[in-house]
């Protein structure tokens, strides 16, 4: 939460309104808590309504102040969601990699956002609880790299950046290895598979994200793996044009025109965000 950019010359700073959506108990609040406080709580009680938090994220050229709406995932709050994603410039749609139905719910959210949110909204699909997966399970079913390479690319490189920038505890770095596709050294799939709680193959989610033009990450709020990377990638993916205003509303308006055209861009953003994340990390 320390604004590490404060010491240097003031950078242009802008606010980004971000909303988290997803089924109950997938770990939305835990992701936010990891990002904002670098903290994790087992058995966190469910969010009621929505929580509003802020956190700065320093990029080389600018500072992004995230205004985060962490919404409750229960069905009864669904009707309130438009209030939170209206004018949002970014959305984190979270699912639980150990629960297949949560991806379906995430897909519903993505569809709703594409239909009703600001057209320029940057959406990241996030599979949380990666710590519960067998290290190799993310990629083993396809047996090989090509489709899986993009997601594992940023993951590999981001993990150290996390640890440095965000002060993730030492074990966070070790534990961040699992989702990073460290399958090469882990040949013994067989016995590990027994303990694997993963229900959503990374490939499935990744393919869907690519199709819809979403950023995609697998994270663990528990170990901290990839959490900062998600927010950094989002910060990088927000088009400059929408950052002029400090309030979401203005940003949403300005990006209206560019909205449609960005459909194509988003796919590219995925890759680019990863690269940038690797170099810069999120300094919060």
């Amino acid at each position: 939460m320390a604004d590490s950019g404060a010491g240097s010359a003031p950078k242009p700073s802008s606010s980004v309104k971000l909303v988290l959506l997803g089924e109950a108990a997938v770990g939305k609040s835990s992701l936010v808590m990891r990002f904002v406080n670098n903290d994790f709580q087992e058995n966190k009680e469910p969010t009621i309504g929505a929580a509003f938090l802020t956190q700065k994220c320093t990029l080389p050229t600018r500072t992004i102040k995230f205004e985060i709406w962490d919404t409750a995932g229960q069905e009864r709050f669904a009707s309130l969601a438009p209030m939170y994603y209206r004018n949002a410039q970014a959305a984190l749609v979270v699912y639980d990699i150990t629960k297949a139905s949560s991806l379906t719910k995430a897909q519903h959210w993505v569809a709703e956002l594409q239909r009703q949110a600001s057209p320029g909204i940057v959406i990241a699909l996030v599979g949380n609880k990666a710590d519960l997966a067998n290290p190799s399970s993310g990629t083993d079913e396809e047996g090989a790299e090509p489709p899986a390479a993009p997601p594992s690319g940023p993951t590999d490189t981001d993990a150290p950046a996390d640890a440095d920038g965000a002060g993730v505890p030492a074990d966070g770095e070790d534990a961040s290895a699992p989702p990073s596709g460290a399958d090469s050294d882990d040949g013994a799939d067989g016995d590990d598979a027994a303990a694997d709680a993963r229900k959503v193959p990374m490939r499935t989610a990744k393919a869907y994200a690519d199709e819809e033009g979403l950023l995609f990450f697998e994270t663990s709020a528990k170990t901290g793996a990839n959490v900062a990377a998600v927010f950094t990638a989002i910060a990088n993916a927000i088009p400059e044009t929408s950052l002029k205003g400090s309030r979401g509303g203005v940003g949403g308006q300005t990006s209206l025109g560019a909205g449609r055209g960005q459909e194509g861009d988003r796919v590219n953003l995925t890759g680019r965000a990863g690269d940038m994340g690797a170099k810069e990390g999120c300094a919060c």
């Binding site: 109950a24 406080n37 009680e45 969010t47 009621i48 309504g49 929505a50 985060i68 309130l80 209030m83």
Partner: protein, 622 residues
């Protein structure tokens, strides 16, 4: 047991003199099948039998009432109510003492001896673990004798257990709030899980009128299915006779039932709480459900599909229900008195806060509250609306007991229904916690996630405007700025850090150990600190049980007492009710009645003098 003095009280009060010379007990029935069952599964069958027995009600009623009458006057009401299910509020059979449970266990093990003589509680309370629902199996007559026996034994027992040791019960109480392990799919741990479940002193079950489980404090679905079925059968049996069951006693467990619309709420307690107390607790749980769903929503769900599974719409609020339930189990003065506690502040300081609130008020605001550690600091409200204590209790429970909101950090925007205000629609609540750091000027937003800490101050703004978050957020920032500037924040934090005063701080040299004072007109109460005499959870629980009993004595119809005085060899207690206040206090047994009365009078005078410090009078009104 005790002396009941009813000054200006009514003569109808049953003479308690009968207790001095207890009449001989009737012979114990031969068929002591009680607790014979070693395996629990049979309890379901047994209970159904119990229900069928309900069809014999007329004759049973007679026989039992007679028994009760001849032995113990005060037991009469309980049994009368128990059986008839009438609307008479419950009467405590005698001074509520927790040792009662203890006694029961002793008598379970060693039957006649413990009934006939005042055997001090032994360590052999084997029956305790076994006795919660298992007692449903027992013969009803048996139950009657059992409870009569324990009533008769109360005085002796009380001496032993009030402030002395009740190790067995205390041990049970310590683990009371622990979670029960989940039932393994292979059933390997079934026995231990069932045992843990049955050893709980308190259960809350909520089911729909169609018999679907909605909530249970302890145990998952598999575990409680049978019991839900039994309860449902019993309730619907009486409902079909158009004579809804409100409460009954089975062994040492008391069952209170609250039927509200499509819901049936059941409390099962071995903590010897009065039926009216239990029902008030159930009422609060019901309010919590309404607060989540609103009444019309819930009715719509059930009227379109009576078999609706309400757990789905309620998903995520289990922790709120459990926090409420656990509060009751620990003992909640707030629920007992239906009143709120207020933070003690100088009148000038409180006025300054009220004025600041009024100054910062924005158009969307309906209610604004500042709450420190569950204690009200100030309220700003429209002239024509006051706040319902039950509503605020729900809010305080959510923020200070359940912890989910607090732990998340940041600010919150929570849709909720305040059923006491209006049970048909949602309001929106802005919540922000301030850390209680004493540096005053810069009050940081809470960023840490440490569970429950002392000295948490919450700013709560309630609005009917769904979109009002940023407006109220601005108001909060203005308010904090103003309050830091004029020192109000410091005053609040200082008072929070001082905590409650002890009795001797208030009245030097007083004999009182603890008191509860409720101001009727303000619907608020104040109390002395639990320390040093009631610092353990168990001693608090017992203290609250004494208060619960005093409260029941004061408020039970048809008799309404002004003063109720109780003694045992370990303590004396006084309940005093006037149109202005209610006072409950305890002192050591050595205290003479005159000294206690004098201390109570002094306390009342003090409360009168300090009224504007102790209570929030009116609040800031716009």
């Amino acid at each position: 047991m005790a002396n009941n003095t009813s000054q200006e009280g009514s003569p109808q009060l049953k003479p308690d003199t009968s207790e001095e010379t207890p009449p001989p007990l009737p012979p114990r029935p031969e068929n002591l099948t009680f607790l014979a069952g070693s395996g629990r599964p049979q309890s379901s069958a047994g209970s159904v039998k119990g229900t069928q027995r309900g069809s014999l009600r007329p004759s049973l009623l007679q026989s039992k009432a007679t028994t009760a009458l001849s032995l113990e006057g005060s037991g009469q009401y309980t049994h009368g109510e128990t059986i008839s299910g009438s609307s008479t509020p419950s009467r405590q059979p005698s001074l509520a003492n927790i040792g009662y449970n203890y006694m029961r266990s002793a008598s379970d093990v060693d039957d006649t001896a413990s009934i006939r003589s005042a055997v001090p509680p032994s360590e052999s309370g084997v029956g305790d673990v076994e006795s919660l629902l298992g007692d449903v199996v027992t013969e009803r007559d048996q139950t009657a004798f059992e409870s009569v026996a324990s009533v008769r034994q109360d005085p002796g027992l009380f001496e032993e257990t009030l402030f002395g040791d009740a190790a067995e019960l205390e041990k049970e109480f310590e683990t009371e709030l622990d979670e029960i392990d989940e039932l393994k799919t292979d059933g390997s741990n079934q026995e231990s899980v069932m045992k843990a479940w049955r050893s709980k002193l308190k259960h809350y079950l909520i089911l729909s009128s169609a018999g679907k489980p909605i909530y249970s404090r302890h145990g998952d679905d598999h575990l409680i299915t049978n019991y839900i079925g039994i309860i449902q059968t019993i309730i619907s049996f009486y409902n079909s006779a158009d004579d809804p069951l409100r409460s009954f006693t089975a062994g040492d467990a008391r069952f209170a039932i609250l039927s509200r619309g499509y819901l049936n709420l059941v409390a099962i307690s071995r903590l010897h709480e009065s039926f009216s107390e239990l029902r008030a607790q159930l009422e609060a749980l019901y309010m919590q459900i309404l607060s989540t769903l609103t009444l019309p929503n819930m009715e719509r769900m059930f009227s379109s599909r009576p078999s609706t599974d309400l757990r789905r719409p309620l998903q995520g609020t289990e922790s709120l229900l459990s926090a409420l339930a656990d509060g009751f189990t620990r003992g909640s003065p707030s629920t007992l008195l239906s009143a709120l506690e207020c933070l003690k502040l100088r009148k000038a300081h409180r006025n300054a806060i009220n004025n600041t609130l009024l100054k910062c008020r924005t158009p969307s605001l309906l209610y604004g509250l500042i709450v420190a550690n569950g204690r009200l600091v100030s309220v700003v409200r429209p002239k024509k609306h006051s706040l319902h204590p039950g509503d605020l209790h729900l809010v305080f429970n959510m923020l200070f007991e359940a912890g989910g909101v607090k732990a998340g950090g940041g600010e919150n925007w929570i849709p909720l229904c305040l059923p006491g205000f209006n049970n048909t629609g949602y309001l929106y609540m802005y919540v922000s916690f301030l850390s209680a750091s004493r540096d005053g000027v810069e009050v940081e937003e809470r960023r840490t996630a440490d569970g429950k800490g002392e000295g948490e101050v919450a700013i709560i703004f309630i609005s009917a405007n769904k979109e009002g978050f940023f407006e109220l957020r601005q108001m909060r920032n203005d308010l904090i700025e103003q309050m830091s500037k004029n020192g109000s924040l410091d005053h609040i934090l200082e008072s929070v850090s001082q905590g409650r005063s002890s009795c001797t701080d208030i009245l030097p040299g007083t004999v009182l150990r603890h008191f509860l004072y409720k101001s009727r007109s303000n619907v608020q109460y104040c109390m002395s600190s639990y320390d040093p005499f009631f610092s353990t959870p168990f001693s608090r629980r017992r203290l609250l049980s004494i208060y619960g009993d005093l409260h029941a004595q004061l408020h039970s119809r048809p008799v309404r007492l002004k003063i109720h005085y109780t003694t045992s060899t370990s303590y004396v207690a006084l309940a005093w009710s006037s149109p202005v206040f209610e006072l409950y206090c305890v002192a050591p047994a050595s205290t003479s009645r005159a000294a206690l009365a004098q201390a109570a009078t002094a306390l009342v005078n003090w409360a009168k003098r300090s009224e504007e410090r102790l209570f929030l009078i009116g609040g800031a009104v716009f």
